[in-house]
């Protein structure tokens, strides 16, 4: 196989839209994926991430916009002429062919004969650690094994681009975590461009070079996992990636400072939004700390609350704190910190500099399925 730097294809979506009647599945999506990059399309169901994948694969034609793969437009090119590997959530192995014949199928279609074909099948099965299963039928394999065979089949013809549509969605957690590492290793070894669709933000953080967060047919933000977690640009991204606490209330700005009144308790941060936007505060769990009521200190923002749920995680504890306006705050504390029990009256303490000030957005709610 060729050296990693030459193997991956760049993908360039420019203002791609897809309409189904009056329903807008994709709304002017623009996304550039670098050669060899591991890009994850992350979002809730119906957000447009799978539609984007289907557009790249050629299963769905765009309504408008342009799509280049490897520098060439593929608009109007049928799926079977795009030379793109696809791994499906439901494996989609051919049940009437053995594992070897499944993996050999794309090579047979390309007129590659034995012994070259057999050697490449063996190599691909080796890569997914399924070399001993060549003579088996898919029905004789577990879900994880089937998905590894499907992966071998999608990479055996050396496509410059591999698309994966929630490939681990049907597997249990332990197997999923192990296969995530396997996929990462294969990406490193191949150097192929990977585009990975998932609704699982943890999976996205584990795997990706960059993540594109989808919501309602649009991309909300593109960035590394750290960028999305530390610097979310929209309320949706802040809520979807990682745990977060949202503080809402009547806002007032004076100079460069924004204050929010949470049921009579004022909290402030030295930041401000553009005029016209209604500000809300977003805080990550590790930026919040807890103190017994009245011992929170005066120099920082303090909100009274009551412990609603206390979860021991081994490496620390996670608390759900019910605030005065009945909203919930999520706090993560280390092992050394003071512990609290359900029902304890506490002060929620945080520094204004840790606050992410974002524009409120009623479309920021999502459901996971």
């Amino acid at each position: 196989m060729a050296s990693p730097s030459t193997r991956g294809a760049a993908i360039d979506l420019k203002s791609v839209s897809k309409h189904y009647g009056s329903f807008i599945a994709l709304d002017k999506v623009s996304l550039r994926i670098e050669p060899g990059e591991f890009m994850t399309l992350l979002g809730p169901s119906g957000s447009g991430k799978t539609t984007t994948l289907n557009v790249i694969a050629g299963f769905t034609e765009v309504s408008s916009g342009s799509l280049d793969v490897g520098g060439k437009s593929v608009i109007g090119v049928p799926a079977h002429k795009r030379n793109i590997g696809v791994v499906f959530q439901h494996y989609a192995l051919f049940p009437h062919m053995t594992v070897s014949r499944n993996v050999a199928y794309p090579l047979t279609l390309r007129g590659i004969a034995n012994p070259d074909r057999a050697a490449r099948v063996r190599k691909a099965l080796d890569m997914v650690r399924m070399a001993d299963f060549g003579h088996r039928f898919p029905s004789e394999l577990s879900g994880g094994q089937q998905q590894r065979v499907a992966l071998a089949r999608a990479i055996v013809f050396d496509p410059p681009l591999l698309l994966m549509d929630e490939p681990l969605g049907a597997l249990d957690k332990k197997l999923r975590e192990w296969l995530q590492l396997e996929i990462k290793r294969i990406h490193r070894e191949l150097g192929t461009t990977f585009v990975y669709v998932t609704h699982d933000q943890e999976e996205a953080l584990v795997l990706s070079d960059r993540i594109a967060v989808f919501n309602q047919g649009r991309i909300e933000q593109i960035g590394t996992g750290r960028q999305l977690y530390d610097e979310p640009e929209t309320l949706f991204v802040g809520k979807f990636v990682g745990d977060s606490t949202i503080l809402r209330g009547a806002a007032s700005t004076s100079g460069n400072e924004t204050a929010i009144d949470v049921a009579g308790w004022k909290v402030a941060a030295a930041k401000r939004l553009a005029d016209g936007a209604k500000p809300v505060m977003l805080l990550r769990p590790e930026k919040l700390s807890l103190a017994r009521r009245g011992k929170g200190g005066q120099d920082r923002n303090t909100l009274p609350g009551r412990i609603g749920e206390a979860i021991y995680l081994g490496s620390g504890s996670k608390y759900e704190v019910v605030l005065a306006d009945t909203s919930k705050a999520i706090v993560r504390s280390t092992l050394e910190a003071e512990t609290f029990a359900i029902g304890d009256e506490v002060d929620l303490v945080f520094a204004g500099s840790d606050v992410k000030l974002l524009a409120d957005d009623e479309n920021a709610d999502f459901t996971l399925t």
Binding site: P78, A79, H80, P95, H96, S139, R153, A154
Partner: protein, 296 residues
């Protein structure tokens, strides 16, 4: 089939399997008893009597079989019976395969309409349907009027083998469509998408993925249609002429007109054995090693 056995060993512990077998020997026999009794009385017994009389009338011996194979017209009709049945099977397959496929591809409401279209002929008596074909196919019938209207010379359809095949195929089509549909609806259409992503054109994806997976339905439908066609009586009798007589008509002639139960019985036994031989030959074809798909 081999893997099926392994699967069931894996999922069903041996003790349970034993228990089931014991239960089957004890209780379940009574559940199948009524059907079994009906089969023995209404099929087994008459068949035994017919077979017996084919050897015993007018006297004991092989005379009826010697007559059957010694009379050229009988062999011609036997061969024609198989040929017509094969044609009917082919016509049903060609008409039924795309129909069954469309049934799997459309929405639930349209599917209901399509299923009704298949089943409605079942609710109309076979004689009525065949008489309708007489009206359509006859020399001055709808089809020939239409052909004449566009300026072509009329075609002889009624009392020909073509007419018999058309009529029988129409009657037997549901027996092809239903098994095809029941197999096709289990085929995961996402496999076709997978094949396309791997580089298969739609035609190759169909030939190499869809068609092989649909073959169990093809075999099941073909066998049912073929066997039913072998014994067809009313349709060939009404739509056919002397040159398209099928074996059932000859049997009817022997038994009801000539009252020769020996010869009629011998013909029936020959048809039965020929059918069994054909089934035995077709059996290895229908053996699909791996029917279970990745569909969940």
């Amino acid at each position: 089939m081999a893997t099926r056995a392994i699967d069931s060993r894996d999922t069903v512990p041996a003790v349970t399997a034993d228990g089931r077998r014991r239960w089957f020997r004890g209780q379940a026999f009574w559940l199948v008893a009524p059907a079994l009794l009906l089969l023995v009385i209404c099929l087994g017994l008459p068949l035994a009597i017919v077979t017996l009389r084919s050897f015993s009338e007018p006297q004991w011996g092989w005379q009826n079989y010697a007559w059957f194979f010694g009379t050229p017209v009988n062999l011609t009709v036997l061969q024609r019976t198989f040929a017509i049945s094969a044609w009917v099977t082919l016509v049903c397959l060609i008409a039924g395969y795309p129909y069954a496929y469309v049934m799997t591809a459309v929405g639930p409401r349209m599917r209901l309409v399509l299923i009704l279209c298949v089943l409605v002929p079942f609710w109309v008596s076979g004689v009525v349907r065949t008489l309708a074909w007489v009206i359509l196919l006859q020399d001055s019938g709808v089809i020939n009027s239409a052909i004449r209207a566009v300026g072509l010379s009329p075609v002889k359809l009624i009392r020909t083998q073509t007419g018999v095949v058309i009529g029988m195929a129409q009657v037997l089509l549901p027996f092809m469509i239903l098994p095809l549909y029941s197999v096709m609806k289990t085929i995961d259409l996402r496999l076709m998408q997978a094949a396309r992503s791997l580089g298969a054109s739609p035609a190759r994806a169909f030939a190499q993925v869809y068609l092989p997976l649909s073959l169990p339905g093809v075999y099941a439908g073909a066998i049912i249609v073929f066997i039913l066609a072998l014994g067809f009586y009313i349709t060939p009798a009404l739509l056919g002429g002397p040159r398209s007589t099928m074996l059932s008509t000859l049997i009817q002639n022997q038994v009801l007109s000539l009252l020769n139960w020996g010869r009629g019985g011998a013909m029936g036994v020959v048809l039965l054995i020929a059918t069994f031989v054909l089934l035995a030959l077709a059996a290895p074809l229908s053996r699909q090693p791996h029917k279970t798909g990745s569909r969940r």
